[in-house]
Subunit: 268 residues, 3 copies
């Protein structure tokens, strides 16, 4: 079940516990990812050196792996961190940025996922389709497909890797292969801010850090981002002010706002 | 010719086509560059790994190479991408950040430019003078000279490399060695925001993606940034809010605003 | 002595001289660090390649070394820059981000500090305690201790390395081992913006560039950040708008604002 109350319980847990979220992520979004986690109430850390990455992951309550500006050095770092997280039952969120755009990205994803089952995979429609082996071209880091096109691929991927798969887009789909939730919150201006998908993955990490039901945690993370995006859009006159207001909204989010806006469904 | 109408035609083309602009750029500005391109309507991608950089460039409608936080690995990446762009007729924008400050920067620029003729080179006055072989000291990444000092160097560089050269500053100079345009839009607070020169180069990339006349495209990109900078400054109380409002202005820019503000000249 | 007048003298010197501040810093904060320095009136440069880092440091008026997203390559770069700064009497500010969180961080700090005495070390309480050899766990990059816990460690570290040590937190402590200043400016929302500690270190660099008394310079830098944080918080509705308003406040800071708000003490 996902309700305003279950969502709010996670928000309060994050604000009280300030879980350490270890991000091995891309250069473009490191700053905004850290800020989104801090605004939500979590404690972000970015660290990747071979000399310390395992030690850092072992301290963390969630590991978020994002291949945005990938190179061999980063894959090696991720390959050290992922088994530590798996061994310590630290939830792993995997963000396959640009999978399907180049062979290197698709193959690196499969290599990393092979090291340990992710808890949650979050991507856009064409990234998820590429991971599931569907024929699709990711356009740089933008999706070349709609969320609805990725439904079968998402369920298949969830079953294959025994994990939760999130496909984000105009409506977000969250599935464990059996149960599928749809989140209808969000705003059309959000794709005009770079890295809000990466922010989504980081928030999923924070929710998984305090909630051991990944399907519920991931759905609640996507609801939180969507609701805060709506609140932000109402105060914004473009993507610049939207990014700023989004951080403010994450920081100030109230149960009332969640209750009034939450739009999710779980069709039978 | 450059008019509000020719500029607007490019803006509409960018908004409709969302051209993929491949940026190999520096750590400082990756986020703001991506956001500026998204706000304008283009689709940015940042990717640099040897394993994929050629494949990504081949997908792109423009390649923007920026040496801001240079190291050997990045030069190698740029050296793979540039010939692909040249072979595929993908326009190449080259931003020689800090040329003239250290020998490494000046020499790396010449090495990279030697791989394929850039479509447009955009820098500040002392960077352009350094590339043209003039004696000048760049102060870190800030110009040690005025745009007017760089006029001869800019024309010489444009002729030597058969490309368009943009010198940005209080007024911007855009030349192909024969015809020279000046853009008088902009605001004094803009140099207090880091990386707006890099943003200018990225916007030049987006305009070149939809307009095969580089002199006109580059002039129109500089006008767009200057006009949006003015619109942003009117809503700002400092460099922080200027950066935010600039993205909003790029997103919301209208033909009316362009028509009312455009200030460029092409002295005979 | 530290007064509104001594602080203002430094601000005016920075605005007039625009000292070049060379930052070898982490991916998360490069953009916001550069913007804070620009808003204050300094001229930031980020450069780290082995081929040029010494040449760049030799041009600078201050060197800021920050180990936030450390890896071997960055240590090597810092190890080239630090001796150049020492030889040229360029003040060195050292920011031991995450010292105490992993062995790699603590050891790298001691390795780098061993190359040349820093002018100022700035960290949070547990980072400073870790460098002084106290038993403490840094939680990722967040302090696991209060500033008051770090008083003895800070004085000891200052004596050991003959430098100024800044411990930032709710109140900031600045000590040369003999004299200790406390700065009570700031706002509770500031730790919810990523990298304001890194910004503090960069501002200390700018003040040291124009003031050869490091204890006074560092205290004045912390006052400036704290006062601007307060001014920004009054105009903000969360951490997103706080970051933006902080840059505006640094840019617009007036002697009147400093005089009305400055809160520091030097208990005998």
């Amino acid at each position: 079940m996902v309700t305003a109350e279950t969502l709010w319980r996670d928000i309060e847990a994050i604000r009280q516990q300030a879980p350490l979220v270890h991000n091995i992520t891309n250069f473009v979004v490191m700053n905004t990812t850290a800020n989104a986690l801090l605004s939500l109430g979590a404690s972000p850390v970015m660290a990747h050196a071979a000399e310390e990455v395992e030690e850092m992951t072992a301290l963390a309550s969630a590991l978020v792996v994002n291949i945005g500006t990938l190179s061999r050095m980063w894959i090696d770092s991720m390959a050290l961190a992922i088994p530590v997280a798996a061994a310590k039952n630290v939830p792993i969120v995997f963000d396959p940025v640009g999978a399907g755009a180049t062979r290197f990205r698709t193959e690196s994803c499969l290599e990393l996922m092979g090291l340990a089952q992710p808890t949650v995979i979050r991507g856009n429609a064409s990234e998820i389709m590429a991971l599931a082996g569907a024929r699709v071209q990711t356009r740089g880091v933008d999706s070349g497909a709609e969320v609805s096109d990725a439904q079968v691929a998402a369920r298949q991927l969830a079953c294959q890797w025994r994990c939760v798969v999130v496909v984000s887009g105009a409506s977000d789909l969250i599935t464990d292969g059996e149960t599928t939730w749809w989140v209808d919150n969000g705003h059309v201006m959000m794709p005009r801010v770079t890295g809000l998908g990466c922010t989504a993955s980081a928030l999923v990490g924070a929710f998984c850090a305090v909630n051991d039901q990944p399907l519920q945690a991931a759905t609640q993370a996507m609801l939180t981002l969507g609701i805060c995006g709506e609140l932000a859009a109402e105060k914004s006159s473009g993507p610049g002010s939207l990014q700023v207001a989004l951080l403010d909204a994450l920081y100030g989010l109230s149960l009332e706002q969640v209750g009034a806006r939450l739009k999710c469904r779980c069709p039978a």
